[in-house]
């Protein structure tokens, strides 16, 4: 019987010719990523179980990207980055993106891709639930905890339960007012935050394959918001062009077998979809942006692994160009590469950076920033009863800071349009 992309990748890494959904298998890991929030705990687990002088299984396969709590005066946050620095030095780990140096990158999921660590056919584990972002490259990528990561550091292996695949097909290219964020919020609204628990979410069809790689990352990033184990998109020319421009390492492209078995399949006609928003406090509380036109906001936020890539800022700038924001608006590039492009990427005569600052938005430094609240002095954090519309991926209670705050999730087009009016706004109103 045929296998899906995910089943096939897991089979190959388990040394098997065939696996089926529901089986538990031990797999060999290609890349392990960790960051400043879970790295120190992971290192603790590794040393506790493999000894104080233990060496990691393969230093070329460990990638450490501090990104969560970087621009804060919090002493423990700074201590945690120092813990990573010591470990990297002790182990001789080459892929470390050290804050305060030229190598600093920012948000791990975007940094992994930009630095060539996401490759088709591979297995990537990361101590962050949004590690599933890398499924956009046709690989198996998922989030794990400190114990699993500590186990991998010592052995290069982990057990996984093979997930069945749910397929989501988007027919037709996207109209200009829709973005990947609208597609994934549409799906999550349909299946719920537990709609894909223990399963793979595969995104397919012309609507997906006409997207650039950053938009595909946005789709896969939020598989976890439906409970998915991983998201995946079949490799095409777009994938290969991006990956080959960023790494010379060899990789194997893995495709679905024609006779593979899916858990289920859903098809969407992109022409029938509209800009959507997830209401507080859950990513599956979907509404059409135009249905919420009476909802006033006090803050807008464009940033994070899912909403802080250059594509997101180009979209935001298309709306904000020549307009002024009515509420506090925060722009947080995911990585230093994106931050640099804010200055070089232009619409007309002006750079994106100029468009944003002219509109009255504040531009921050590359990091996870207020997406997950964090220390009180974090840029853009909701420190009171704010109502924020955001391009981030989670709107659980207090996710962006205060217990009294509310977060609406939307595409950068919708967030920018809402920043201009101070109310939730369908971006079509500003795209005539």
């Amino acid at each position: 019987m045929g296998m899906t992309i995910t089943e096939k990748i897991l089979a190959r890494h388990a040394g098997r010719t065939h696996v089926e959904a529901g089986e538990n298998v031990w797999v060999n890991v290609d890349v392990l990523m960790t960051h400043d929030v879970c790295g120190p705990g992971t290192i603790g687990v590794f040393k506790e179980h493999f000894g104080k002088n233990a060496r990691v299984w393969d230093r070329e396969r460990v990638v450490i990207i501090p990104d969560h709590y970087i621009y804060t005066a919090d002493s423990k946050a700074r201590r945690n980055v120092d813990t990573l620095r010591e470990f990297v030095k002790e182990q001789g780990i080459p892929y470390f993106y050290n804050p305060g140096t030229e190598k600093y990158k920012g948000v791990c999921h975007v940094a992994l891709a930009e630095e060539g660590h996401t490759r088709p056919g591979e297995i990537l584990f990361g101590t962050d639930s949004h590690t599933c972002t890398a499924g956009a490259f046709g690989e198996f990528a998922t989030g794990i905890g400190n114990t699993d990561a500590g186990f991998i550091l010592g052995t290069g292996k982990l057990w996984v339960k093979v997930p069945p695949t749910m397929r989501f097909v988007f027919e037709g290219t996207l109209p200009p007012y829709l973005m990947a964020k609208d597609l994934i919020l549409q799906i999550i609204g349909d299946i719920g935050v537990d709609g894909a628990v223990y399963r793979t979410m595969e995104f397919a069809g012309e609507g997906v394959h006409s997207l650039n790689i950053e938009e595909r990352m946005t789709l896969c990033n939020m598989a976890i918001e439906a409970g998915g184990k991983n998201g995946v998109i079949a490799v095409d020319r777009t994938t290969l062009d991006y990956v080959r421009a960023r790494t010379s390492k060899p990789f194997d492209v893995v495709e679905n077998d024609p006779a593979c078995k899916y858990h289920s399949a859903r098809t969407y006609d992109t022409k029938k979809l509209e800009p959507v928003v997830a209401k507080p406090h859950s990513p599956d509380r979907r509404a059409l942006a135009r249905e919420l036109k009476d909802v006033s906001i006090t803050q807008a936020y464009i940033g994070s692994c899912t909403g802080g890539k250059i594509t997101d800022f180009i979209a935001g700038a298309r709306i904000l160009r020549g307009r002024n924001v009515k509420v506090k608006t925060f722009i947080v590039p995911a990585t230093t590469e994106v931050a640099a492009k804010l200055h070089t990427e232009k619409i007309g005569e002006k750079s994106l950076y100029e468009i944003f600052t002219d509109a009255g938005a504040k531009v921050g430094e590359a990091s996870c920033a207020a997406c997950l609240g964090g220390p009180k002095d974090t840029f853009g954090r909701l420190n009171g009863a704010e109502v924020c519309i955001s391009t981030t991926n989670r709107n659980f209670p207090a996710r962006m800071g205060s217990m009294d705050s509310e977060v609406y999730l939307a595409s950068p087009l919708t967030v920018a349009a809402s920043a201009v009016t101070g109310k939730i706004t369908d971006p079509r109103e500003m795209m005539a």
């Binding site: 990361g126 639930s129 998922t142 905890g145 628990v197 184990k229 964090g374 209670p397 207090a398």
Partner: protein, 186 residues
């Protein structure tokens, strides 16, 4: 793995996410440092909105003001417990607070793995919804071997789903001991 767990139950609803179990600003504590590890028990479930704190009434703190841990031994919850982040600080916080098992309809995958592989608590699943069958503070007895949860206050009993694949890891203690016993690592 304890055979029988007796004590008070704390009842929660659906989709209890990891930000509610342990909010992100406490993640600067490093669980590998013993004095910081303990602090997670103090802050466990402090991200719950008032109305969700101990069903059915709500407004029942999981950890009393100024206490280091909780008086509750078992959490009964609804669907998709532990959704959201991969932070292992979530099952760790519950364990540090004194929780020995969670009984939910089903779990978010990463929370489930972390609970088992890290040996923090037993994540039992139920064939049906139990949230309305318990009130926060009722006395319970959980028989892990038989997969039975008794409400001693009401004299009712409910079967839990078999632990299945994860039983050998739970019995061994955690993924490291399991891998040692099965000869995978020395």
């Amino acid at each position: 793995m304890e055979n029988k767990i007796r004590g008070k139950v704390y009842v929660l609803g659906d989709d209890i996410d990891t930000d509610q179990i342990i909010p992100a600003h406490y993640l600067t504590y490093n669980p590998a440092i013993p004095e910081e590890r303990k602090l997670f028990g103090k802050y466990a479930l402090c991200g719950l909105p008032e109305a969700s704190r101990g069903l059915p009434s709500g407004k029942i703190p999981f950890v009393a003001e100024g206490a280091d841990g909780s008086v509750y031994k078992v959490v009964v919850a609804g669907k998709n417990f532990g959704c959201g982040s991969s932070r292992e600080h979530a099952p760790l916080a519950l364990q540090q607070a004194g929780i020995e098992a969670v009984v939910a309809e089903f779990y978010a995958r990463i929370f489930f793995r972390n609970s088992v592989n890290g040996g923090y608590l037993i994540p039992f699943e139920t064939p049906g919804r139990l949230v309305e069958k318990f009130r926060t503070g009722e006395e319970i007895e959980l028989d892990a071997q038989k997969g039975l949860l008794k409400n001693l206050t009401r004299n009712t009993e409910f079967s839990l789903k078999p632990l299945g694949d994860i039983l050998p890891i739970l019995k061994a203690g955690d993924i490291f001991q399991y891998a040692r016993q099965s000869g995978m690592i020395k």
